[in-house]
Amino acid sequence: MTLLETLTPVAATGSLSIAWLLIAIPLAVAGILLVVGRAGDAWGHLLGAAAPVAAFVIALVEFVELLGAPPAERAVSVPVYTWAETADRTIEISLLVDPLSILFALLVTGVGSLIFIYSIGYMVEDPKRRRFFAFLNIFLGAMLTLVLADNYIMLFIGWEGVGLASYLLIGFWQERTSAALAAKKAFLTNKVGDLGLLCASFAMFALFGSVSFADVNAAAPDMSHGWATALGLLLLLAACGKSAQVPLQVWLLDAMEGPTPVSALIHAATMVTAGVYLVVRSQAIFTLSDEAALAVAVVGLCSIFAGAWIGCAKDDIKKVLAGSTMSQIGYMMLAAGLGPAGVAFAIFHLLTHGMFKANMFLGAGAVMHGMGDDTDMRHFGALAKGMPWVFGTFAMGYLAIIGCPFFAGYYSKDHIINAAFGRGPVFGWLAIVGAAITAFYMTRLMMMTFFGPSRHLPGVHPHRPGPVMVIPLVILAIGSIIGGLVLNGWIQGWLSDAIGAEVEPVHIFETSAIAWITLLAVACGIVLGVLIYRRPIAQETPVSRNFFVNAGRNELYANAFNEAVFMRPGQRLCDGLELTDRYVVDGAVNGGVTLAKGASGLLRLLQNGYVRTYGALMTCGAVIVGAVMILGRLA
């Protein structure tokens, strides 16, 4: 069986050779915005929003070029820069444009363009808007580096870059303690995952002498099963950190402290899916180790339920969406862990999710904007009338995520459930249950936000967003409706043309037993949600004794667990180390410095300014030279 990405890249020609501009444009714009300072306040946002559009155009041109290329020549290597060239090793930086990375580039720049434009309106009153756009462009450049890299080290550079941008943007309103802490938490949790990626890269370099995708894929079949499992688990750790999967999921909910466009772009549509991308890119390793692939699938399943659980319990609209992101990425991970059968569907779901989740996040942002930056759904209600455009577009996202037939999520999720049954009935059934819960909590969100009587706080008067925010919503809503239909028949072929794997037949409407059962489960979830949340809803969160509710509200006690198991012992360790450092290490270092300074002082005595001393020193030196020579002869 041939696998994804085992093609040897061909050299770039035509428009593909300018792929580096994809990365250079956003980074250059970010640099300009940061350097010009306040002088750019008047036009910074326009320049900032132009960068992703330009990048999108380039990506589109390259996509068309790849479409026209014969399948075997769709993986293209774009050399950028040769740093050093020697006989046995060339250190070269080049990009890889292939069916997978170009899809990502399109998603990042396409959804990115819409969100950047939306941000012009969203951040209109923020005095730091120019800086915001600079950070967004840093993110864009880093994300494109990540997906266009042709080796793990460059991928890692992009990986760290998006982590940095995420940190800067979560903590964008740094004057809020909660935002600053959330940023720090996201950064630290990500570092745990980054360790996995670094170790995996080191191991690959030791095993294969190279970290480029092509070399690793070519050499992977020769490695031992143990190494394959180890590499797979390390990469999974990295993916868990970036994609907020169990057990490194804790940062994602707090990350909602950032401005909502950031949540939409980075923490829903693009960056958090980088983990899925990593697993898909490294399929050559995961196919060699069943255990590692199984671990991926299990992590995916756990995350589906952890996210859904949190989504059911939270009252904060952004946190519900964050829980649902975690859960949906769980589906992608599950698919990525199913081997070649699922990989294409993981990417499929990733793309549709990118559209409908960005849509919903931007919708939630519009709601917040109109409600005076309140995010508590218990203070919403009756917004379907107050904000018809927002409601209409949000509803499209809703129908897409629950898997309503003919909407985007329907196709991608159904394929994953089907493929999960191929792995084993347990996986399949759990995936169906997950879909039912998704339908339940999303219905809950819709009911609490848009229907029922108004529970607005006094003094809040919902106002409608302007066109600069509505137009991106409409475009994303259209994507949420037709995205699945458009990609359904095509994406398998696109990703497998290159690989020669078999394409499973797909239909506009599935009529298999599994499809019907899934639809039934989703319907149950919707009905249950409507029935429960038709009842009056209190403005304050009621106290609950129910363990499940409390666990969900407390994010499954993951924070408490981390505090007890890692933070406090870590603090104690630090205290102990600090004492050791102060008395033992400092003592040694200070001693060493004193010694060096003493030696320095002694040697300076020789530098006394008298020529006679210098002359004597030279004479002594001549004697030493002679002595060493004679000793060398004798030895």
Binding site: T86, A87, V611, Y614, G615, G621, A622
Partner: protein, 517 residues
């Protein structure tokens, strides 16, 4: 007796430079005083530019031995010549800078007046300028060009004297703190005379050993296994000491801190870069061409000297509180690092594709070191307090915050000297240490790496002072004229280029690294 033949084509750059110097003497006699400085400056720049053009044009000409076996115009010679003329131009530009010190050059108005005397005040009041420095510079540079090209011990000795004597004079010419400057010159002269004597004695002993001053004959004598090994070893030791003195290797370094501090800064820059270049070129030729057969003798000695030099430069540098003196100690440490490559004694072509040998390692290191050092000295001339250069660390506090561009460039130079990747200094250290490693001196490379960490300590300390300490209001960062900025910018760009794209330069150096006897 055959009549002597002279290959004018091969030695044209030498003749141009010497011709320039002779013309400069005429300028002294004929051009009015008011216009002399500009004319001398222009003449020096033009002469060196022509010489540089000739050297570049000569790269394609087949290497050959010229002037009856006296000079060997081969690849290494051409590398050193190119570098020497580039850095010589840089030094000339610094010599010609008059804006930093309010319209006067860095040199004494009238060198022969007694410091503090009425004659001196009169000379200053009349705004007299010392223009002979340009003649001295050209003559010294001529000696430096001959030195690494010399193919016999006598030519080498004469070249050593030609390059040294003008240097002694130039050291004494500082406009400010003249007593310090004159003292430095006297010390340099006395110790230099002593080292010349040692070199000459060594040359005589080697003549006694082989019956010839020609490097080829000395090499043949070693290969044939002539009995009198004592003569060989003593001659080897003494001639090496003569050259090691110019390099500033420990324990023949004592003059370096005092002379670098006392000499006018442009002269210090010239000495720190060009003298070192010429001396290393000469050392490589002496050791590889004439004494290559005795390498088992000199490798160990040089290894010991390299260790002493690195340790001394790095450790004593830690205790410095003056930028000019710090650069002096740093230049001692760098000499030690370069000696690591010399000790390796690897020919590039023996190592196979992709590896550079000792010669290109040394030369590349010197190129990176020269760019950063000359640039750093140029920056040094711009930091002033009440008219004179302010070289104390306290004066440099907060410089990076007051002058972001200058601070960033100086930081780049310091990073390059510390050997941080993406700068020329890093690649230089890499190729130099690899040459030492390939030559079987792994332990020496380990010492070198540890010591480069120690040197990084004092470079970073200066960076810290430049960015994190409170600025001193009494210090001015004066506006410099074009010449100084050209040196600074070429240094910065060159440092980056050598760090980011070292390939072509390394290839060029490696392909030209073969000596000709």
């Amino acid at each position: 007796m055959t009549s002597p033949t002279i290959e004018y084509g091969l030695i044209a750059p030498l003749l141009v430079l010497l011709g320039g110097a002779v013309c400069a003497v005429l300028v002294e006699a004929l051009v009015p005083r008011t216009r002399r400085f500009g004319v001398q400056f222009g003449l020096a720049v033009i002469a060196q530019l022509i010489a540089l053009t000739l050297v570049c044009a000569g790269w394609s000409v087949t290497p050959g031995v010229a002037v009856m076996g006296g000079l060997s115009i081969d690849g290494p010679t051409r590398i050193v010549w190119s570098l020497l003329l580039v850095f010589g131009l840089g030094a000339t530009l610094l010599y010609g800078e008059r804006r930093v010190s309010g319209g006067t050059s860095a040199f004494a108005a009238q060198a022969h007046t007694v410091p503090g005397s009425r004659a001196e005040h009169e000379a200053i009041a009349a705004r007299q300028e010392n223009t002979e420095v340009f003649v001295l510079l050209e003559l010294s540079l001529f000696g430096m060009l001959v030195f690494p090209a010399a193919n016999d011990l006598l030519t080498m000795f004469v070249a050593l004297e030609i390059l040294s004597l003008p240097l002694y004079v130039m050291c004494s010419l500082a406009r400010r703190r003249r007593l310090l400057s004159q003292e430095a010159a006297l010390k340099y002269f006395l110790l230099g005379a002593m080292s010349s004597a040692l070199f000459l004695f060594g040359a005589a002993l080697l003549y006694g050993f082989s019956g010839s001053f020609q490097f080829a004959d000395i090499d043949a004598g070693i290969t044939l296994g002539i009995e009198s090994q004592t003569l060989l070893m003593a001659g080897l030791a003494l001639t090496s000491i003569g050259v090691l003195f110019k390099i500033g290797a420990v324990p023949f370094h004592s003059w370096v801190p005092d002379v670098y501090t006392g000499a006018p800064t442009p002269v210090t820059a010239f000495m720190a870069v060009c003298t070192k270049l010429a001396a290393f070129g000469g050392l490589l030729r002496l050791l590889f061409v004439a004494l290559g057969g005795a390498r088992w003798d000199w490798q160990l000695v040089l290894a010991v000297i390299a260790v002493l030099t690195m340790v001394f430069g790095a450790v004593v540098g830690l205790a410095q509180n003056d930028v000019k003196r710090l650069l002096a100690y740093s230049s001692i440490a760098h000499a030690g690092f370069i000696l690591v490559a010399v000790v390796g004694a690897m020919a590039g072509d023996a190592l196979g594709e992709g590896l550079t040998g000792s010669v290109s390692g040394v030369m590349f290191y010197l190129a990176g070191y020269g760019l950063a050092t000359m640039g750093a000295f140029a920056v040094l001339t711009m930091v002033r307090r009440s008219g004179g250069e302010a070289t104390g660390f306290d004066a440099w506090a907060g410089l990076g915050r007051r002058e972001p561009v200058l601070g960033a460039i100086m930081t780049l130079f310091l990073l390059s000297m510390a050997g941080i990747p993406l700068t020329g200094g890093f690649v230089g250290k890499l190729v130099a240490f690899v040459a030492g490693w390939q030559g079987g001196y792994a332990w020496l490379v380990v010492v070198a790496i540890v010591m480069s960490l120690v040197t990084a300590g004092f470079y970073f300390r200066l960076v810290k002072i430049m960015y994190f300490d409170e600025p001193d209001a009494s210090v001015d960062v004066v506006k410099a004229g074009t010449p100084t900025w050209v040196v600074i910018i070429v240094g910065a760009v060159g440092t980056l280029v050598l760090g980011l794209a070292p390939g072509s330069v390394l290839d060029l150096f490696t392909s030209a690294a073969g000596f000709l006897r």
